[in-house]
Amino acid sequence: MKLKDRVAIITGATSGLGEAAALLFAEEGAKVAVSGRDEERGKKVVAAIADAGGTAVFVRADVRRAADCERLVSETLRAFGGRLDILFNNAGVYYAHNAVDCTEEEWDATVDSSLKGAWLMSKYALPTMIAQGRGVIIHQASGWGIQGGDLAVAYCAAKGGVVVMTKAMAIDHGKQGIRVNCLCPGDVDTPMLEVDAKNRGLSYADYMKGAANRPLGRVGTPQELARAALFLACDDSSFMTGAALVVDGGGVAD
C-alpha cells in the first residue's frame, strides 16, 4: 500500500475524478476526508470506501469560502488524529463562455473554485504540514492551464494561475519538506463533460468525438487521472515539486 495510514483531504470528491481519487487513495491505505458541496453524493462515496474496507469521512465544504476551508481542515485533523499528509485540491467548475459572454458571477465561480479555493485550502493545511516537516499538495490544473482553449476564458485564466501558483508554493515550502505539484488532465470522462456538451449545444456523442481528437484518440478515464494523483501523493515522486504533470493522451504535445 502506497499511502498506508496517511491522512488525505480531497476536495470536489463527490463525483468524477475526485471520487475516483478518494476510492483509490483509500484502497492504498489512506484515511480520506471526502469533501464537496453535495452531502448525499459525498456520503455515498464514503459508504463505498467503507464497503471496500477503507476509512473515510465526509466534510461538507464550499472551497470558495475561507471559513469552509478552515473548518474542512480542522474537522479532518479532529477525525484522523491530528495529522494531515496529503491535500488534493480537485474542486472546480467550468462554464463555456468567451470574454464577452462570461458573466461576473461565472468568472468568480470559476476562478474562486479552482484558484482561490486551492490557495485557501493550502493556507489552512500548510501549518500542520510544516509542523510535521512533511506533506504533499496536489492542485488540479488542466491542459488548458498550459495551452488556451475555446470558450474557456475564465477556466484557462484560473488553471494557468494554478500552474504558476504551484511553482510559487513549491519554492516557498520545499525547505519545510512539503512538495507541491499540479495535474494537467485533458478531457476526462466525468459528469463535467456532459454539462460542457450541453452548454456548447452539442450532442454528447459529437462532443466526445471532438474530445477524443488527440494522439491517443480517446478521452481519459477518472481512474487514469486518479493513478497519476496517487503517484504525486506517494513516495515514488519524492523529488518532484513545482511540476505540472500532463495526463492528456498527448493533447498539448502538438
Binding site: P215, G242, G250
Partner: protein, 250 residues
C-alpha cells in the same frame, strides 16, 4: 507499479549512474531487463551485481550501425521489446566560445543522435509487436538556459521536441515521454564536486538537496507502467523545484 512484471526492457547507458538505478528498479519490478552500454568494465560490474539481468550488449549509441547490430542481438536476448529507456548521455563543462566542433559532435552525437537511433530501432519492434513505451532522458537543461553546457542543453531541448513529435506520430500504439531531471547525486557528480560546491547548489534547490538516482528511476517505472496509460508526449520535470523559479544556475 502495475504491469511491469515480465515486460521486456532495454536501458541504454545502464551500467552506471542513473541508468544503473533504472536497471535495479525494473528488476525489482520483475521486468526482463537488457542493457546497452559502451563501457565494458562498468558492464562487468553490473552483471556481477544483477545476476537476473538478461544481458548487456556493448555499443556506442552515437553509431547508427552499432545500434542496429545491438538491437539484432537484443532480439535474440529478449524476443521483442515493450519498454525502451534512452538514458545514455554525456556532458562536458566548457564555455560556449571554447566548444570545438569535435566536442559538439561528441555531445550531440550521444545525447541526441543516439536517442534517435535507439528510439527508431525500438519503435520498429514495438509497432510490429502492437505496443510499447519509449522514455527519453531529457533534462531541465533542455528547458532553461544554463551556462557552460550549450551543446548539452541544445541536445536535450532536441530530445524534448523529438519526444513530442514521436508521441504524435506513433500514437496510439506507442507512448513516448521524456524525463527531465535537475541535479542528481551520481558517482560522476560526486567526483566533480567539493562538499562546498554541493552545499551551494543544494541551497538553491527548494527541496534543499540533489535527487538520488533511485528517485529518478521511480519516475521511469511509473511512466512505463500501467499506472500511466494516458501520459504521452510530455516532458516530466523532476528537479526538487529547481526551475520553478529559475534559481539553480544563479
Amino acid at each position: 507499479m502495475k504491469g511491469l512484471a515480465g515486460k521486456r526492457v532495454v536501458v541504454t547507458g545502464g551500467a552506471s549512474g542513473i541508468g544503473a538505478a533504472i536497471v535495479a528498479r525494473f528488476l525489482e519490478e520483475s521486468s526482463r531487463v537488457a542493457v546497452i552500454d559502451r563501457d565494458s568494465a562498468a558492464s562487468q560490474t553490473l552483471t556481477r551485481k544483477h545476476p537476473g539481468l538478461v544481458g548487456i550488449v556493448q555499443a556506442d549509441v552515437s553509431d547508427a550501425d552499432a545500434v542496429a547490430r545491438a538491437f539484432r542481438e537484443l532480439d535474440g536476448l529478449l524476443g521483442g521489446l515493450d519498454v525502451a529507456i534512452n538514458n545514455a548521455g554525456i556532458s562536458i563543462r566548457h564555455d560556449f566560445m571554447d566548444i570545438t566542433p569535435e566536442e559538439w559532435r561528441r555531445v550531440v552525437g550521444i545525447d541526441l543522435d543516439g536517442v534517435f537511433y535507439v528510439a527508431q530501432q525500438s519503435a520498429r519492434r514495438m509497432l510490429a509487436g502492437g505496443g510499447g513505451v519509449i522514455i527519453n532522458m531529457g533534462s531541465t537543461s533542455g528547458m532553461n538556459g544554463y551556462p557552460r553546457y550549450a551543446d548539452y542543453n541544445a541536445a536535450k531541448a532536441g530530445v524534448i521536441e523529438l519526444t513530442r513529435t514521436m508521441a504524435i506520430e506513433l500514437a496510439p500504439t506507442i507512448r513516448v515521454v521524456a524525463v527531465c531531471p535537475g541535479y542528481v547525486w551520481t558517482p560522476m557528480q560526486e567526483a566533480e564536486y567539493t562538499p562546498e560546491m554541493k552545499a551551494a547548489v543544494d541551497a538553491k534547490i527548494p527541496l534543499r538537496r540533489h535527487a538520488t538516482p533511485a528517485e529518478i528511476a521511480a519516475l521511469y517505472a511509473f511512466l512505463a507502467s500501467d499506472e500511466a496509460p494516458y501520459i504521452t508526449g510530455h516532458p516530466v520535470i523532476i528537479d526538487g523545484g529547481e526551475i520553478a523559479g529559475g534559481l539553480a544556475s544563479r
